[in-house]
Subunit: 352 residues, 2 copies
DNA sequence: TATTTTTACGCAATCGTTCCCGGTATCGTG
DNA sequence: CACGATACCGGGAACGATTGCGTAAAAATA
């Protein structure tokens, strides 16, 4: 099956004009007489003519499309970011090609090569948790491909970056747990090879320190796959709760870790917030409806998408090489609900 | 900034060959000597040459990209479908351009025009709840654009369609509520202008009839916006629970309606499943963790995406016009949890 | 009337690739 | 030795659109 669109040549032939004249008429050039313009415009309108974007891309050496790589769109945070990206991109005549790494460095590289071979004009990337080798990003960037990192950024590459205030978010969450009366606060976090892992861990540690709590390495559990693999989380939770001195609260440093943590706690028969307090990063709309309703740190995801895209379009449309790169940090929001509401009496209530 | 890729012309010039020879060498033509091939291939490899897909698209009059229109990717069901679409598309060398209608017919049309003007080779569409006018779809389809509808299909257009067994899903859910002892079963459903609305409503009604329950129009509430607008849902729930004879169970016919319904019930202080039983269509991963854990009808979303894409690629790559269109119906899965577990004693327990 | 200026349009190159024609060697065969 | 076959490679058109340049006719000027 072929979907044949009407071309400038069709119009030219039908009207007995040259393609140049038609092209100029459509672009309202001063070199074309008003009568000719009128005829061409009306005929084009009648045939529902639209310039072939592929031909334009070839001529102008730009595709007017941007590539996005995230670990997965099913994650609320990323789908919200993508909404922000689309809103800015579409109003500027760009389209968005989304691809998912599913936290695999290998798939990320494939997607990266695929997107660049499809000649996108720029990239918006949140790296996978596995990614340790930034050579390809670097090479691409050096060759002039505009790139903006967000969320999981890479320090080694000098370009625009957009992140939430991960340190503050983690610091606030941990402080809230402390203020609620919890004493042994554990954290489930991403690998420190990931920027968000590092920053959120630092916020957690700083909060403990500032409030006079002893840091305890055994209370820090890393999830290499960021919660994508259930076994990994279960193991981390098992380790935590077979300690002689198990935690009485958990700060989960990422969306999937937060809900995964709740899942594990329920599987263990531990009740929240009585046995264990729980707070974590999450952008899910459903956290309010969970059992118990979750206290969360929420990132301004939509806005992050908007900012990242604006910065990328600046990069793309800049006439001369940009050397002055920005790192935008947007503030997180803490929403307090039942999962951190410690009871005075530490009795074990009935699990509903 | 410009990202300059190496072209066939660069290779030809560097090697003192013509572009035709280089092109043929790269495509392993029999007309080229093994030595020349070797030289060209090695040089191309060294320079990391990749054929310009835009030039190819222009030449071959196909973009090797497919457009997807859904109401929103933040919806678990759709993000899972998209995963299915991507898996098939990518392995076949197609890329996927996703756009969201946000349940607006106007935005849907804009996206449609945008995607076709970007010359996608085909479209996978789940129509918005607002869409009443199918002229543009029809016109596109008549002009030879391959289209596959899924989930929310349109009867007026003869093409491949992929849906879940909505009737059976709704029938099973309603039957389960009846078997659990609920007597006055209400439904929150989409507009019947939507195929899923019609089919699921029919399943609900058939189940009532088959089990000897009187149909009651006042127990059927339509949400025009499919749960996107909170006020609409709240109003529907208000109407339901100000009835002299309010419902004791609800079947929610869509993802957002199901969680929205739970939200509204909790706001009203009604406990589930004691005061009101609840089951609904949902593909969210979190329904198990909700308060209470939700009984749901789950659609094989990933598989639906796969099937839709396979059918679309068939359409695209078919040499001659296809007239034999398929409608694939995949079975739903019912997952029973606490929200439909009616207590023997109808006492009001403490809300946790 | 002769010349210059303006108006309005066409020709052809270009983007990167493929492919239909050619063409020129080299070899084998009669 | 002559001719055809084969192997190997280049020229150029095409895909759809833009654009610099050339130029005819018409209008304005001398």
């Amino acid at each position: 099956m072929k979907f044949e669109a009407v071309t400038i040549k069709d119009i030219a032939k039908a009207l007995g004009l040259s393609t140049s004249t038609v092209s100029r008429a459509l672009r309202d050039s001063y070199e074309i007489s008003p009568e000719t313009k009128k005829v061409v415009l009306e005929y084009a309108e009648k045939l529902n003519y639209h310039p072939n974007p592929i031909a334009l891309s070839l001529k102008e050496r730009r595709s007017r499309s941007i590539g996005v790589i995230v670990c997965e769109i099913a994650n609320s945070y990323f789908s919200q970011v993508i909404n922000g990206i689309e809103s800015i991109a579409n109003t500027n005549g760009y389209n968005v090609i989304i691809s998912q790494s599913h936290e695999s460095a290998e798939k990320e590289l494939v997607n990266l090569q695929y997107l660049t071979s499809r000649s996108v004009d720029g990239l918006i990337i949140s790296v996978s948790t596995e990614t340790k080798d930034f050579n390809y990003f670097n090479e691409l960037h050096d060759r002039g491909m505009p790139i903006v990192f967000f969320d999981r950024i890479v320090d080694e590459i000098q370009t625009h970056k957009v992140i939430a205030d991960n340190f503050k978010g983690a610091y606030d969450a941990t402080t809230h747990l402390i203020n609620s009366g919890y004493k042994r606060i554990a954290t489930l976090c991403n690998t420190v090879f990931l920027s968000i892992g590092k920053e959120r861990l630092a916020g957690y540690q700083a909060a403990l320190k500032d409030h006079g709590l002893e840091p305890d390495e055994s209370l820090i559990r890393y999830c290499q796959h960021g919660g994508m693999v259930a076994e990994e989380m279960d193991q981390a939770m098992d380790e935590l709760f077979t300690l002689q001195n198990p935690p009485d609260a958990i700060f989960a440093a990422a969306d999937k870790l937060t809900t995964g943590c709740l899942r594990a706690l329920r599987a263990k028969g531990l009740s929240v917030p009585e046995d264990v307090g729980l707070i974590g990063f999450s952008n899910s709309e459903l956290t309010e409806l969970l059992n118990p309703s979750l206290s969360v740190i929420r990132q301004p995801a939509f806005e992050m998408g908007e900012v990242a895209t604006s910065l990328l379009l600046e990069l793309i449309e800049s006439k001369r090489p940009v050397t002055d790169f920005q790192s935008r940090v947007l503030t997180t929001e803490m929403i307090l609900r039942s999962s951190t509401r410690m009871q005075k009496t530490h009795s074990k209530p009935v699990i509903s």
